[in-house]
Amino acid sequence: MIKDSYDVIVVGGGPGGSSAAKNLAKLGHSVLMLEKRQEIGSPKRCAEGLSMASVDVVGKGMPKRCIAKGINGAIVYAPDGNSVTVDYGKRGGYVIERKVFDKWLAYEASRAGAKVMAMTEVTDILKDGGYVTGVKASICGEEEIEIKAKVVVAADGVESTVSRKAGLETVNKLVNVDSGFQYEMSNLNLEDDEKIIIYVGNEIAPRGYIWIFPKGHDVANVGIGISMAEKSAKFYLDNFIADNPEIFGSASIIEVNSGGIPVGGFLENMVLDGFLVVGDAAHQVNPIHGGGLKEATIAGEIASKVISGCLKKGDVSKEALSDYNQIWWEERGKKLKKVEKLRHVMEKLSDGNLNMLAKALSGDALVEMTRGNKLVTLAKILMKNPRLITLARHLL
């Protein structure tokens, strides 16, 4: 069923992998995508939120069954209980079903001509003369086999070891990885089932936030992302749930998820001879809201174009593949680096500062900021407080 060699092997069957595999197959290359899990997309490591701008990138032609619920905005609660309401406008966004969605992406990759293999774990990288030349993999737990490729794409998520085995340093700093924990809950008492709800505050979620992403009726993903905290993410989320019986008093837990979210530490170099890394494995996530679906998909698209060009020229050296670095930094990296700055500033704000911001900021400004725009507006507000001037300067 599997050939001895391919133009490209993609390690990991998440959105980044499927994006790369689909586009490379469409460009006429032979592609093998390997996924270690027995089922693509499950268990999810995601709150499943997708803005409409992201849907345009990730979900073109997405079947209805991928969508759990349409969303028309967000409510962000400051520590003092005051809130900012964000109106997403007519287009809104979705909370999706990752399990259905990721599988659909993989179907699409296979329909484009890529060969997809679930329950196939890549255990090592093959190298020859400095070039990555393929992988060692175990299919359904059987003895490892060697499969050759001209280029290997690491799309192996936050737990990526493939890059490091290939010789690319991708270890992230503890400060750049959020600890994520989430329950999918039912029988919740939601104030508005068409809005995502966010709670910020250093007591409830150190250097992060708590979210409620509604999935229809009384069901929602209830989760937390924090960093450098005293206790585990689960500890803080359990406390929050216990402290808010009006929402959670009658609720049940239907699924338990955890995950690491790379929220910074973008890589200057993401290529080696015959090798390239995309998605969470390359820390390509929005550092403020932790959304990575769109980023992984865009990176997969950029990677496929660059790899295709290199294959056609017969040069898959690091130098040739480094167009991927340039294009990614130009198209995404610069913007995300700004968002990373915003994160560094937000992390240092006290609960009092956050309360003040909730009063001063409009919902629209908030949305623009998460995209790396209008940071000057925020800087100006912060500068009104003499003690925050130095911090605010980082945004300029």
Binding site: K36, V158, E159, S160, V177, G180, G260
Partner: protein, 58 residues
């Protein structure tokens, strides 16, 4: 002197793997593997684990 994981708690999310500075950890479908030859008991992985499944004692 030990690195310990409570397997029953681990949700196989891979957060720990992403921060281990010495590539001692690997997330296999069978669970987390720790290469004790490499592990320096630093204990960064313990701090990132969302469910407190890892315990490191120097």
């Amino acid at each position: 002197m030990a690195w310990e994981i409570t397997k029953e708690r681990c949700l196989r999310c891979g957060a720990c793997v992403s921060v281990c500075p010495v590539l001692a950890l690997e997330l296999r479908e069978s669970g987390i593997l720790n290469d004790s030859g490499k592990c320096t008991l630093c204990p960064i992985c313990e701090r990132v684990c969302p469910v407190g499944a890892i315990r490191v004692e120097k």
